[in-house]
């Protein structure tokens, strides 16, 4: 249902806004022809792209592509884009789904790697800050967390590249994307900086959330009871304190990871990583509806999946939740 709503909304924004601004079908098509195209070429492009058809018919054609596939003239012949077909780019003329699948490993590598870093550092910093409330460590870590939340990726990214890659030579050339399957070490070396930069932004929020949750939980009666029963402090903190704190952290994690898997737009652009986020930026800049639809639906799928997984994990973390 969500995918349906998202696709209709994207479609409507793409076609209705220009129409409201007075653009004709030919005006719209003129974006997708060469710069030397004449009126006839533009008009033919409008017909070919179906811009003269009612919006409902155009949307129906898109949905049909997802369930049945699309036939397309590529010049020497007709090719079939099998279902689920997200159509062909208006600009590059490439099929959208293979393009997205081609870029998915890059976005997955970036988002999952960064997620590990921010969860480990964010949660552990939050726990330690809560346990040492008011200490120098608490103030320092919360100050750094504040900076992390405040500084944009294009700032931390470019400055970190200048320092760690150009001056110190500690990391590889991020733009030379190497798949994990080809060379795991180079893959990791090239991604360390994007991971840390992205994690710096997110870890800050997790540290603050975990700290607040831990402070509240650690003052609960059942924590005092656990201590009174003589449980070791580590067990009190991890099993009774942290476990209760993790529920809101997991909710946030599901949303964040889902969004990132749909494209870490700023990080990918800053580090020249050709993932789904960079693809989304190019699609928007080119007013390329099939590509924009593809990215939007991919992001929606990931958000749904991530939230589903988080819902399932609630049962593992919180003993009060049972899957029925």
């Amino acid at each position: 249902m969500l995918l349906f709503v998202v696709s209709i909304a994207t479609f409507a924004i793409f076609f209705l806004v220009p129409r409201l601004a007075g653009m004709s079908a030919d005006d719209l098509a003129s974006r997708y022809v060469g710069k030397a195209a004449n009126d006839q070429m533009i008009h033919e492009a409008a017909i070919r792209l179906g811009f003269n058809d009612p919006l409902v018919v155009q949307y129906g054609r898109f949905v049909k592509g997802i369930f049945v596939g699309v036939d397309r003239n590529y010049g020497p012949g007709i090719e079939h884009c099998p279902a689920p077909c997200l159509g062909y780019s208006y600009v590059t003329q490439n099929p959208v789904l293979p393009d997205l699948l081609d870029r998915l490993p890059i976005t997955l590598s970036l988002a999952l790697g960064a997620a590990v870093v921010w969860v480990v550092f964010g949660v552990s910093t939050g726990v330690l800050s809560a346990l040492r409330r008011g200490s120098f460590f608490d103030r320092l870590s919360m100050g750094v967390a504040l900076a992390g939340v405040s500084l944009p990726i294009f700032f931390t990214g470019i400055v970190s590249l200048a320092i760690f890659r150009d001056q110190l030579g500690l990391v590889g050339d991020v733009a030379d994307w190497v798949p994990f399957s080809e060379d795991p070490l180079t893959w990791a070396n090239n991604l360390i900086l994007p991971w840390v930069t992205l994690a710096f932004l997110y870890a800050a929020g997790y540290a603050r959330l975990t700290r607040a949750g831990m402070l509240e939980t650690m003052s609960e009666d059942y924590i005092r009871t656990a201590r009174a029963k003589g449980l070791p402090e580590r067990m009190v903190v991890v099993k009774h304190g942290l476990r209760a704190t993790l529920t809101p952290v997991m909710t946030m994690f599901g949303l964040d990871l889902g969004l990132l898997l749909g494209g870490a737009v700023l990080t990918e652009s800053t580090f020249s990583l050709p993932g789904i986020g960079k693809y989304a930026v190019d699609a928007i800049n080119n007013n390329d509806l099939p590509q924009v639809m593809g990215v939007t639906l991919t992001a929606a799928v990931f958000i749904i999946l991530a939230n589903l997984i988080v819902d399932l994990l609630y049962a593992v973390v919180d003993p009060r939740v049972r899957l029925t």
């Binding site: 004449n38 400055v159 150009d166 020249s272």
Partner: protein, 587 residues
């Protein structure tokens, strides 16, 4: 406001990063690609007139990077200068610009063809003879039929939309639209004959004296019909040049390797010095500039050189500046004066604008003399073939404008106290916004009041300034933009911006130059077979446009390019206005 603050933040960040990069070790530009050795000294602008670091050593990889992507690497589907420059690494068109520095680089020579074309039938028929021994990358010999097929497929703008339309417009095509829709009609197509395997004969609808420039277009590079994959041909164009595609990850990277079937004996204009050429696509421009300055990337592929933030570093640090070149481009930045909007229908009112404008201030908006360009005296860029000095408004003596003459023209126009109109610009382009504001100030000196209005650049020509109805209805009297030539000869520069017959309902690049005399001169120049006479007519077109005062030119554009100290055989191609890619190497 949000756009401005974001842009400022990005600029500050990039500037900070460049400062950080430049700190320590005496400046990164002193290192030779990270080896730590001292780099050879060079001179600013050395690459404009001579080959820098000449070398015949072979081996290594040439690393290139670009902020976006090519419109296409299919030779039948590309329009940008950097794409044409790049495609000559793996394809060979009938003719090409001589790959040498200086003015000699504007001369056409034979490439796939033995020499330039032979005209007959008063310039309506052009014949080219192919060199013998040229092969495709798979060893198949190239024949005239492959050239004919290549041009024929480029006519189909549904499948290959991006390239120029010269062959659509000029060849005697009848109703032929290309081999994809008319598979069986290639042989009966009248546009091109192939009497034998070595001869290609072009038949034109009307005479054109500069056809050798059309023969230089990448769409004349041969394509084997059996290997044509239409829209997918860009994944692996079949090579005839010294390199061929090993990998093309669309939108990500390209890797070229040596073409084993390229024979230097058939190609006096190219060498095969690099083992491979790698292009990283879609790079963050500020980061790409940093990598270029530190020698991690050998060449940046784009039209204008280093970005705004890196420019500051290049121009202010002499250690860096010595490796930079300010290259003149075939481009003029100008403002169109719309005669559909009164009182600009009166030539004297238009002349008042041309006299009053402060071109020095606008030069600053475009980046100054090094990164922006020279103050323009007329529309035609001075570097172009056939340029003749034409300073009707005394700009050389008064780049800041001549207020007294402007006032005289306003009196002659019947508007002694000035008038009001609107000036449009592309909102994403800071230089154009500053230009509009600068004109608002300088024209204000004589009472011409401008209302400044920005429009999105993606639709600027299709919906706003380039749509005559919209421009007239909204009173766009002045429209800021600029134009670059397809090739450095009059027709390639003027035709689309001064010929009134190209004006259509929308999507125009001629924003209002309407003079039958200019149209007549364009026709005369196009048909003229004698190059000297032809160039003289183009100079007359330049003078007439200025006399009509339909266009206010202010900057002949330059690009600021950087060549790392390790880059060999580097020089600016006078034709492309960027480094000549054919000669570059790293050993």
């Amino acid at each position: 406001m949000k756009i401005r603050s974001t842009a400022s933040a990005v600029a500050i960040t990039a500037a900070l990063a460049l400062v950080v990069s430049a700190c320590g070790g005496g400046g990164s530009a002193k290192k030779t690609g990270g080896s730590g050795a001292e780099a050879p000294a060079s001179q600013y602008n050395a690459g404009v007139t001579q080959v820098v670091n000449p070398s015949d050593k072979t081996g290594g990889t040439l690393h290139m990077g670009m902020p976006g992507d090519f419109d296409s690497v299919d030779p039948g589907d590309q329009y940008y200068g950097y794409a044409w420059n790049f495609s000559r690494l793996y394809t060979r068109a009938l003719t090409m610009f001589k790959p040498v520095p200086g003015k000699e680089g504007l001369e056409l020579v034979g490439d796939l063809a033995e020499g330039l074309g032979k005209a007959s039938d008063g310039g309506k028929t052009w014949t080219y003879t192919l060199r013998k021994g040229i092969k495709f990358e798979d060893g198949t010999p190239v024949t005239s039929k492959d050239v004919k097929y290549a041009v024929a497929r480029s006519l189909d703008k549904e499948i290959l939309p991006s390239g120029p339309t010269y062959f659509n417009d000029w060849l005697d095509n009848g109703d032929y639209t290309g081999p994809y829709k008319m598979k069986d009609k290639l042989d009966s197509w009248k546009g091109i004959d192939t009497p034998d395997d070595q001869t290609v004969v072009f038949h034109l609808k009307k005479a054109y004296g500069g056809f050798d420039y059309f023969a230089m277009l990448p769409s004349t590079a041969p394509v084997p019909a059996a290997k044509d994959t239409g829209t997918k041909y860009k994944e692996h164009p079949v090579a005839t040049g010294p390199y061929m595609f090993k990998a093309h990850e669309l939108g990500k990277r390209i890797e070229l390797v040596k073409n084993p079937n390229w024979d230097a004996a058939t190609d006096p204009n190219r060498k095969q010095l690099n083992d491979s050429v790698e292009v990283l696509l879609g790079q963050n421009e500020d980061d790409l500039d940093q990598r270029l300055l530190s020698g991690k990337i050998d060449v940046k592929i784009n039209s204008t050189g280093v970005g705004a933030n890196a420019r500051k570093t290049v121009l202010t640090d002499d250690k860096v500046k010595q490796y930079a070149d300010s290259a003149p481009l075939d481009r003029t930045w100008f403002t169109n004066l719309n005669a559909d909007v009164p009182p600009l229908d009166n030539v004297h009112c238009r002349k008042a604008v041309l006299y009053a404008a402060d071109r020095s201030a606008i030069q600053g908006a475009y980046g100054g003399p090094d990164a922006g360009g020279e103050v323009a005296l007329s529309l035609m860029p001075s570097k172009m073939t056939g340029y003749e000095k034409n300073d009707l408004y005394g700009v050389e003596a008064n780049p800041g404008g001549d207020v007294n003459k402007a006032k005289e023209e306003l009196k002659a126009c019947g508007q002694p106290n000035g008038f009001s109109t609107t000036i449009s610009f592309r909102v994403e382009r800071a230089a154009e916004k500053q230009t509009a504001e600068s004109l608002q100030q300088s024209l204000g000196r004589v009472g011409i009041k401008l209302e400044v209005k920005g429009f999105p650049q993606g639709d600027y020509f299709k919906l706003y300034a380039g749509k005559p109805d919209f421009a007239k209805k909204n009173g766009l009297g002045l429209m800021v933009y600029g134009w670059g030539a397809d090739y450095p000869e009059g027709f390639g520069f003027f035709q689309q911006i001064v010929d009134s017959r190209v004006i259509r309902a929308a999507g125009n690049t001629n924003l209002g130059v309407k003079d039958p005399e200019i149209d007549k001169l364009v026709d005369q120049a196009a048909a003229e077979q004698d190059a000297t006479k032809r160039n003289s007519i183009w100079a007359s077109v330049d003078k007439k446009v200025m006399d009509d005062a339909f266009i206010l030119p202010y900057v002949w554009a330059h690009g600021l390019f950087y060549r790392p100290p390790t880059l060999k055989n580097a020089f600016i191609s006078q034709n492309f206005g960027m480094y000549e890619f054919l000669t570059l190497s790293t050993q």
